[in-house]
C-alpha cells in the first residue's frame, strides 16, 4: 500500500487521524505525519481516512 499526501492541499485538519490513528497523526504544529509501510490489514481504514479528508489530499495505491 502506497500513501501519498499532497501537502499543498493538506491543511492539517486531522480528520484522517481520527479515522486511522495507526497511520496518520498531527505533530505539535498540526502538520500531518504518515507512518511508513502500514500493515496490509489497515487498507480499509486507510481508504476510509482518505475519504474523510475534507481537502482530498490523500491518495492510496495498492490497497
Amino acid at each position: 500500500m502506497r500513501i501519498t499526501v499532497d501537502y499543498g492541499l493538506c491543511d492539517g485538519l486531522g480528520q484522517c487521524a481520527l479515522v486511522a490513528p495507526e497511520v496518520f497523526a498531527l505533530d505539535d504544529d498540526e502538520q500531518l505525519v504518515v507512518a511508513p509501510d502500514p500493515a496490509p490489514e489497515l487498507a480499509g481504514k486507510v481508504a476510509a481516512a482518505a475519504r474523510a479528508c475534507p481537502v482530498r489530499a490523500i491518495s492510496v495505491e495498492g490497497a
Partner: protein, 412 residues
Amino acid sequence: MVGAGLAGVRACESLRARGFGGTLTVVSDEPDLPYDRPPLTKQVVAGTLTEADIRLAGAEDFGARWIRGTAAVGLDRVRRRVRLAGGAELPYDGLVLATGAQARPWPGQVPAGVLTVRGLADVRALRAAVGGGAREVVIVGAGFVGVELASSLVGLGLGVRVTLVEPFRRPLRALGGTVPDVVAAAARRAGVGLRLGTAVSGFRTAGERVAGVVPADGSDLPAELVVVAIGMVPATGWLAGAGLALPSGRVHCDARLFARTAAADGTAGAVDPRIVVAGDVAWCEAVRSADGPVPLEHWSNAAAQGELAAGNLLAGPAAADGYEHVPSFWTSAFGLRIKSVGLPGTGGRVVAEEGEPGSEKVVEAHYRDGRLVGAVSVNLGKRLVEYARRLQEERDRPEPAGDGRIPMPVAE
C-alpha cells in the same frame, strides 16, 4: 437524491461504488454544480480558493441525471413520487433526503445590502459588495459563520472594518470553556469591533439601502454591508404533509438512517424502508447526548451519513448497518486553529487538560456526570485522536441508568 451538497454527493458515490446500476436522478434547488461548503467563509472569501477548487462533482459524474436550479416541493410516499417546482413528478424506488439547511433569515423585512451566507451565490454577492467598495461591514451573530467571515474580511488587507454584534456575551459560545474568550481576544487584536451582549433591533436605511445596524441599546453602527449570521434552519418545508416525523424541523431517522414516519399522535413511528436521510437535515437516533438525539451540522457527519445512507438504502433495513460516528469539526479564525470531537456543548464541567486555559494552545475536555462528552483544542489538534478514542469507548459502554428509551419531541 434530493439535495446535492456533500451528503448527496457522497451518497451518489456510494451508490455507484456498491454497484447500483439503475437510474440516478439528483435534484438541487441550486443552479451550481455541487461544491464544498467549509471553504466558502474562509478561503473563498479570502480569494485563495476559486469556485473550481471547491467543486465536489461534475455534471458527467455518477452517470446521473442532474436537475439543478429546481426545488423539490412535495413528497408523496404512497405513490412514491417527488414533486418538483413547475409541477413535474419524479417516481422513485429509493429516495435519499439530503436537502441540508438554509441560512436562518432575519425575522422581518431587510433592506438591500443585508445578506445571509450559506451558499456559493451568497459568497459571490458578498465578494461583489466588497469588490464594489463596501468597507464598513457589520456582522450580526458571532457563531461559526460570523466569526469566520469577520476573520476573512479583515484579513483581505483592503481596509474593511468589521463589527461583530452578538446578543450573548461570548463568540462561538457553543465551544464552552475558555476558548470563546480566546477567540474574542484574537478578534479584537485583529481589529474587529466586538459588540457582545448586544441584541440587534433593526436596520437604518438610506434610500433603499442599508446604512446602519441599530442595536437594542439605541446606539448606531454604520454599515455599507450587513451579514446576518444567526444560524440555520433545516430545509424541510417541502416535506410538510409527507407524513414523516420532523422533530425540530429535521427528518427523524433511526440508527440506520431510515426516515421515520409520523404516528397519529405526532411522535415518530415506523421507518419508511425506501427513504434514507443524511447530513444537516437528519435528526438521527444514533447521534445522541445524555438527553437524546442531537442534530449535527458538520462536514464529517454529512460525508459519513451520505455514504452509509446510500449503502443502507440498497441493503434494506434488515441488512443495514448502524451509524457509528464520533462527531468532529474544525474552524479557523484570527490565526486560531480550533478543532473539536464529541459534543462539547453538552458537558457541564470543563477541564483544561493540556496547555494553559485561556491561552492559544490548549485542550479542554468536557464532562457530564463524570463521563467525557467532548473536547476542544486550540492549535493542539494532535491531542484529539486520544479523546476520540475515549469517546468511542464511552459510546460503547452501556448507559448507567434510565430505561434506554429515547425521548421523542412532538413532531412539528
